[in-house]
């Protein structure tokens, strides 16, 4: 993965616009967050292999970036994106890595389903 360069990532986001694509979106604090700090309110969300078709994708802001996908009837967005990669299978993988190396958020787009 490399650090997001807005212009480069924007080109990649544009390339998937208007196509049926498989989406992976997750954010988490880790399952042990409330074990180490019992007052911590642990929340997260996870979506994998839901098909969407976005008309506009946009990367905004200084790092960590925000990435939003405008759908005909709604939105998908992720906050905290720092790194990206177009992997060998042509999938666009975006991730937000905290300074301690933990993955905080991931947004991935692919024309073929992600593995189970």
């Amino acid at each position: 993965m490399e650090l997001v360069e807005v212009k480069k990532l924007q080109v990649q986001l544009d390339a998937f616009a208007g196509k049926d694509v498989y989406l992976h979106l997750e954010t988490t604090n880790g399952s042990y967050a409330s074990h180490f700090n019992e007052s911590f309110f642990n929340a997260g969300a996870f979506i994998r292999n839901v098909v969407i078709n976005y008309e506009l994708g946009k990367v905004v802001g200084d790092s960590p970036h925000r990435v939003g996908l405008k759908l005909p009837h709604g939105w998908v967005y992720a906050q905290g994106i720092t790194h990206y990669e177009l992997d060998e299978e042509g999938r666009l993988l975006l991730a937000g890595h905290a300074g301690d190396g933990k993955l905080a958020v991931a947004l991935e787009i692919s024309e073929t389903p992600f593995s189970y």
């Binding site: 997750e26 790194h83 992997d87 190396g101 993955l103 991935e108």
Partner: protein
């Protein structure tokens, strides 16, 4: 406490590295004693968060990394029957409960273990740990001749609710294998091992203790975590 000989030991945990911290010394000792051991690992830890910054893996390449590490851990323990059960990290509690019981029942019927090691229900912190423990307990509960069931418990209220572990194995002689099992899972354990080395150098007895003893609770059927299922 020396580790008794068994006919066959079945270990069931959800994540690559669950075996390393809590039970790799016990597994190694059983294998050295000639007891066949099967480790059924339900997922490949696909949702692990320690990916580094800069990252050494992506969300999609992580399972490949962790599969190799799991195999390396098995090699470090001398374990030859490693089963990867194909579930996805952080989803086990959402699987059909009967399907989970059947997965455990099938393993037990095939292997006929005299002892099973898993997590202790309600004292295992992570939702995947809890779901794994529930499935194993439910499968064993239905058996006429139940194998010994040892649970690993580490919730914050464990000592208060369960007291001290009633099974404590001395694993000093296989300390090196335990270390190697933990080192095998380097993508998950690098930070912790670094801290551990530091503590060992300072002569920290709690850390030393952790490398010389492994602790379990006999599952308390008379205080079953649920009345029936």
């Amino acid at each position: 406490m020396t580790i008794p000989h068994e006919r066959h030991v079945l270990v069931v945990f959800p994540h690559p590295d669950d075996e390393a911290f809590g039970v790799s010394g016990t597994i190694t000792t059983h294998i050295q004693q000639g007891t066949p051991v099967t480790y059924a690992c339900l997922t490949l830890g696909e949702m692990g968060r320690n990916l580094g910054n800069p990252p050494f893996a992506t969300r999609e390449s992580l399972p490949v990394v962790r599969k190799k590490e799991l195999q390396a851990s098995a090699d470090a323990m001398g374990l030859t029957d490693l089963r990867m059960m194909g579930l996805r990290d952080k989803t086990i509690e959402f699987e059909d409960d009967e399907k989970m019981v059947k997965m455990m029942t099938d393993l037990i019927e095939e292997l006929n273990p005299s002892k099973i090691i898993t997590f202790y229900p309600d004292f295992a912190v992570h939702p995947d740990h809890e779901a794994t423990a529930r499935a194993v307990v439910r499968a064993v509960r239905r058996m006429k001749d139940r194998p010994t069931l040892h649970g690993v418990a580490f919730a914050n209220n464990t000592a208060e609710m369960l007291g001290q572990p009633d099974v404590v194995f001395d694993i000093r002689e296989v300390r090196e294998q335990k270390m190697n099992s933990m080192k095998a899972h380097i993508s998950q354990t690098a930070w912790m091992l670094e801290e551990m080395e530091h503590k060992l150098q300072q002569g920290d007895t709690a850390t030393e203790n952790w490398l010389t003893k492994e602790r379990f609770y006999h599952y308390r059927w008379h205080e079953d975590f649920e009345k029936s299922f």
